[in-house]
């Protein structure tokens, strides 16, 4: 097998070395799987040949970008791992970008001038376009810009039958279980020229909920970010609940560019500050706004710091011990919230896949990967 792959991708792009297999056996979820072969791909043609080979030989394939999945989306189970890091080329054509799956988001945006790609997850400095398509990523500006599927025009994908085809955005969010993406056409947004911010420091949860209800439908809001009292304390901020509003206009009181950047940096560093204090396990909770108050009270009572895009209905509670997370899951189910809408489902969150989505993915899996060679054990 190795000789065949060597001929396809070159000796330097295949490894069965213990060190490579160890490293590629895990991802951001810290779940350990197993792999005996890692391939680094450079072209769609190579990927196509690999999928056809895997189909003939009934092998499981795990496509991998940055490997930052928090839910085990790229953990192999005796699978062949395909690393897309080297497929990082893109071309810009007016208000479109044609990108290979290994393109890193921040790098893409740093190369654009009057436009930008507006889906910006927390780990935009490392996450790849392919991975973002896999989980139909969202970002802090979901209120205005929506999710990945709103900005993907088409996707070139090789499915588990070995067919290379162009799809619409209906394949986003399938977490690599129906096909391997080789190219994505992205739509670009106009750069927001005028920005401003407001910061509300609230004494109580009730104040947070009231304020949110008050500003929720303001038409120029780009993002409404929240930092809980517990999180603020741990981060060395004033002991308050924070709501940070960002506008695509000059409505906010804070208009100075440097000050806006400073506040953005504080917000971006919240998880880092929490992780330094041992709160390293991040969850993604979605909720309806009428249950936000209850959720925040429960978290404060338990001493669990949280932050998130409450304007889009997401919160990221952070735990210092995995064992406490089960209780949280139970509570989320109680308030009819959801888990997995931001980080995906992978292996860890399979129990939270909504029935409708499970049904849809099962049908797609049957159609596009009837031999089950793609990303075994994930999502469904």
């Amino acid at each position: 097998m190795n000789l065949w792959f060597e001929k396809l991708v070159g000796k330097e792009n295949i490894s069965s070395d213990v060190v490579d297999c160890e490293v590629y056996s895990t991802d951001g979820s810290q779940i350990r799987g197993t792999t005996h072969n890692v391939l680094w791909v450079n072209t769609a043609q190579e990927v196509h040949q690999i999928v056809l080979y895997a189909k003939r030989n009934k092998m499981d394939l795990v496509p991998r970008g940055a490997g930052t999945s928090l839910v085990g989306g790229t953990v192999p189970f005796n699978s062949l791992v395909i690393d897309f890091t080297k497929m990082d080329r893109f071309t810009i054509k007016d208000d479109r970008v044609i990108a290979e799956p290994g393109v890193v988001l921040d790098h893409l945006n740093s190369c654009l001038r009057d436009k930008f790609f507006p889906i910006i997850p927390e780990n935009s400095a490392v996450c790849t376009i392919g991975g973002m398509c896999g989980i139909n990523a969202t970002g802090i500006y979901e209120r205005k810009y929506g999710r990945m599927s709103d900005w993907v025009e088409d996707v070139e994908m090789i499915d588990g039958t070995g067919k290379l085809r162009t799809y619409g955005n209906e394949v986003l969010g399938t977490e690599g279980i129906i096909g391997v993406i080789t190219k994505v056409t992205l739509k670009l947004a106009e750069i927001v020229i005028e920005r401003s911010m407001d910061i509300f420091k609230c004494e109580t949860i009730e104040e947070v909920v009231d304020k949110l209800a008050h500003v929720q439908f303001h038409k120029h809001i780009l993002a409404i970010e929240f930092i809980s009292l517990r999180a603020a304390t741990l981060c060395g901020l004033e002991t308050k609940y924070y709501l940070v509003l960002e506008y695509d206009g000059l409505e906010g009181d804070i208009k100075d560019y440097d000050e806006i950047q400073r506040i953005r940096a504080i917000r971006k560093n919240v998880f880092r500050r929490l992780a330094e204090k041992g709160f390293v396990y991040r969850e993604d909770a979605s909720f309806s706004l009428d249950r936000l108050g209850e959720l925040l009270s429960w978290l404060e009572h338990k001493g669990i710091p949280s932050f998130g895009s409450v304007g889009s209905g997401y919160l990221f509670p952070c735990f210092d011990e995995r064992k406490d997370i089960r209780e949280f899951y139970g509570y989320i189910k109680e308030i009819r919230g959801a888990i997995g809408k931001v980080f995906g489902y992978g292996i860890l969150k399979k129990e939270f896949v909504p029935d409708e989505l499970k049904e849809k993915l099962t049908l797609m899996k049957r159609e596009h990967d009837p031999h089950e060679i793609l990303n075994m054990g994930k999502v469904i």
Binding site: V23, D27, S29, T68, D83, T85, K86, F271, V280
Partner: protein, 113 residues
């Protein structure tokens, strides 16, 4: 700064990894090395490392990867697994007090860092 026990495999070190940029290989990132150290692996891969914490500038748990890799090299030396070039270097230091021994500038064919 922290030991590799604190590495949460978030992958944020990828953004500052020049070795990743040059090779595309996760194994050469700080996260890759941390995974291997956690598994108590001894391998020449630990000599493919600049031993500098610029690669963990954005690490949320401040892993001191440079020190961790350096300590791994100590273990490699204990097991007699150092590189051939390093062996030459240390033999010179032991014999002459410097890595270049008694060589003059024009005789030097190998430098060390």
């Amino acid at each position: 700064m922290a030991s590799v026990d604190k590495c949460i495999l978030c992958g944020l070190c990828r953004q500052d990894s020049q070795l990743l940029t040059l090779t595309g290989k996760e194994t050469l990132t700080a996260r890759g090395k941390a995974i291997l150290i956690k598994k108590d692996v001894l391998d020449k891969i630990f000599y493919i490392d600049p031993l500098h914490n610029s690669t963990v500038r954005n690490c949320p748990t401040n892993v001191d990867i440079a020190e961790e890799v350096r300590k791994r090299r100590e273990k490699m030396v204990e097991e007699g697994m150092e590189t051939v070039a390093n062996r030459r270097m240390i033999e010179n230091i032991r014999q002459f007090g410097t890595p270049y021994g008694k060589l003059r500038k024009e005789e030097i064919t190998e430098v060390y860092s």
